[in-house]
């Protein structure tokens, strides 16, 4: 009999709640009972509240148990979990878990299923098909396919990927670059990390397709230093991809050459802004550049550069493999394809939800999220990271797509949704937004550098109950200056959480002096 396959995620999130210890204990007890098992450290399925989620291969199915703690393992062996035995922690067939079965996984198709560093696993689930097709097409055709798919930048700006690529393609230069932005600094977002740790070859394939499309030979992935496991996983995957012949002097035997280098960030949030990221990759201070010139024309080291987020590039293989028509059959309006939503904060069932654009905020929070972790009512949700807007439960019918959120005074950002229960004070959150901007501002432009500090001071006055009306007017005026006068989104969007908190939760700002009495 061959070894029983046991999947225990090696993903940072799973490891943070004990997956390594669980793997050791299962391995120890299996040895003690002379049971032959093969432990595979897969990525996470994204159902993070079930981590560590142990899966056992039984026939064609994978039976899940979670969340497993070391103390549960002896009991699992007693109930024959290696053959799928019943146990209170059993969730049955993982693929039939309603939380997962209801999703439409395109970009995350392989995450949590495969061994992240197994090329044969990758190929068995459609890996390199998009790249092989791209190799039969001209640069113009690839760019046209990506444009046709409707794929927009998943990093937050939502700019059509194909149009950006077209600019780089049409800019004449011997040297061009593909830069992948993996500086996922927004609180409440973690999909880049999970993808890189769980299916790094998808990102490599997406970058290779981009390179062939625009005529680039060198790629860079800029990963934040807070993600050491992602750096390690991607480094290993790059070496394997070179050995396999996807990266190097000849991409899959073609005349195209392409390779990837990793650059690790220095703990600076603003380096997620694309031009600050370029400066940082060049080894300099992460100070934002003025635009124009667009990075697509003069980017990294002054050369034409495609800059895309991890999720954008990781969606490209599916677009090429299944065609633009298939991809754009999902989503609504001008928000086509799937979005990878991330449920975070005070949420019972947090994790990755990939589904077509247009799902309602309420469905994500209630059906997928299952409400708050604390059990208290939900008071606020922040969508799109620290620069995104705060919404109230009265906004739960909001459709989650670029345009609807914009109309509602918010933004989708990188798709993170942070949930807060009734213990949150929105005036304090507004002040934090300003403080965060003050800490992380690159310092180049005045509205951001100084406005953030003055903003935090003014909100403190409101919190302390000092003269509400004049301070409110001052704050609104300051927000307007920051929005219109900042060089990049750091200062330009910091007013969004502040203003939305004031608009949607006026009771947290008004009459503080009365409340404190």
């Amino acid at each position: 009999m061959s070894a029983i396959k046991v999947y225990i995620p090696g993903d940072s999130a799973a490891v943070s709640v004990g997956a390594d210890d669980v793997a050791l204990e299962i391995s120890r007890l299996a040895r003690a009972s002379n049971l032959e098992i093969e432990i595979i450290r897969n990525g996470t399925r994204g159902a993070l509240w079930l981590e560590p989620l142990v899966e056992v291969q039984v026939g064609a199915d994978r039976i899940g148990y979670g969340p497993v703690q070391v103390a549960d393992i002896a009991g699992l062996f007693q109930t024959q979990f290696l053959t799928g035995g019943a146990h209170p922690l059993s969730i049955g067939k993982v693929s039939e878990l309603p939380w997962l079965a209801g999703q439409d996984r395109i970009t995350f198709k392989r995450v949590g299923i495969v061994d992240p560093l197994s090329i044969s696993d990758y190929q068995a689930l459609g890996g390199w098909v998009g790249l092989q097709r791209a190799l039969t097409m001209s640069g113009e055709q690839i760019v046209a396919e990506v444009t046709e798919s409707g794929l927009r930048g998943r990093g937050g700006a939502g700019f059509p990927a194909g149009i950006k690529w077209k600019t780089v393609l049409e800019t004449q230069d011997e040297t061009k670059y593909i830069c992948c932005n993996a500086d996922e600094g927004d609180s409440g977002t973690y999909a880049d990390r999970i993808l890189i740790e769980g299916d790094p070859f998808t990102l490599i394939e997406g970058m290779a397709i981009a390179a062939i499309a625009v005529g680039a030979q060198q790629g860079f992935v800029y990963i934040r230093s807070e993600y050491p496991a992602a750096v390690a996983k991607l480094s290993a995957a790059i070496l394997l991809a070179r050995e396999f012949g996807v990266l190097g002097k000849s991409v899959l035997g073609s005349t195209y050459a392409f390779d990837i280098k990793i650059r690790v960030g220095g703990g600076s949030y603003v380096c997620g802004e694309e031009t600050a990221m370029l400066e940082s990759i060049e080894g300099k201070r992460g100070v934002v550049r003025s635009k124009p010139p667009l990075p697509a024309i003069a980017g990294l080291f002054g050369k034409p550069t495609v800059i895309n987020n991890v999720l954008t590039l990781a969606s490209v293989p599916a677009v090429l493999a299944d065609g633009a028509t298939s991809y754009k059959s999902r989503g609504v309006g001008r928000s086509l394809g799937t979005q990878i939503f991330q449920l975070a904060g005070n949420v019972k069932q947090g994790g990755i939800v990939e589904t077509g654009f247009g799902i309602s905020l309420g469905e994500l929070i209630t059906s997928y999220g299952g409400g708050s972790l604390s059990g208290k009512p939900i008071k606020a949700v922040q969508i799109g990271g620290p620069l995104g807007a705060y919404f109230a439960p009265k906004n739960f019918d909001l459709a989650m797509d670029y345009e609807s959120l914009l109309t509602a005074g918010g933004m989708l950002g990188h798709g993170g949704i942070v949930i807060f229960d009734t213990s949150v004070d929105l005036a304090v959150q507004a002040k934090f937004a300003m403080e965060f901007c003050a800490i992380e501002s690159c310092g180049k432009c005045t509205p951001c550098r100084l406005g953030s500090t003055r903003g935090a001071e003014t909100i403190q006055k409101i919190i302390d109950g000092e003269e509400f009306e004049p301070n409110k007017r001052l704050l609104l005026d300051l927000c307007e200056v920051m929005t219109d006068g900042s060089l990049c989104a750091m200062g330009g969007l910091t007013p969004m959480p502040v203003m939305s908190a004031m608009i949607n939760f006026p009771e947290d700002f008004e009459n503080r002096a009365e409340v404190m009495k």
Binding site: S187, G266, P386, F436
Partner: protein, 141 residues
């Protein structure tokens, strides 16, 4: 994490492989910090000479990035995430408790990408989800 004490030879050996890299200054500072636990003064001049940039350029990069430090590392490095998602599950309370217990070994961080399993704390490079004072204590040297 064990760090070597400063030696010019060791520093030069750390920098040597970076000569072929485009834009090496940040990587050089990171490599020095990995080796010695911080960036000593002597390293600034060495990086400037090695890569033919001014000391001001190196100093500028060194002082921009939160990760880089100019004083020796403490015995424990405890980073608590105080960004929104962890705030929503009580990281501010945990932050106060940690600072009361471990003083200057604790510093604030913004997001480890573990936002569904907060509060997140990183102790000496190890990420702890659903962190508590007791869980942190287990990882302290």
């Amino acid at each position: 994490m064990t760090h070597s004490s400063w030696s010019l030879g060791a520093a030069m050996a750390v920098l040597e492989p970076l000569r072929a890299e485009p834009g090496p200054v940040l990587m050089a500072l990171q490599a020095i910090q990995r080796e010695f636990g911080f960036v000593p003064d002597e390293a600034v001049a060495l990086i400037a000479t090695t890569f033919n940039v001014s000391r001001a350029d190196v100093h500028g990069v060194l002082t921009f990035y939160h990760d880089l430090r100019t004083t020796p590392a403490l015995e424990n490095e405890i980073k608590i995430c105080v960004a929104e998602a962890c705030q929503a599950v009580g990281s501010r309370v945990l932050e106060k408790a940690l600072k009361a217990t471990y003083k200057e070994e604790v510093c604030d961080a913004f997001c480890f990408g573990n936002c569904a399993l907060g509060p997140a704390v990183m102790v000496n490079g190890k990420l702890i989800g659903r962190a508590t004072l007791a869980k942190v204590a287990e990882e302290i040297k």
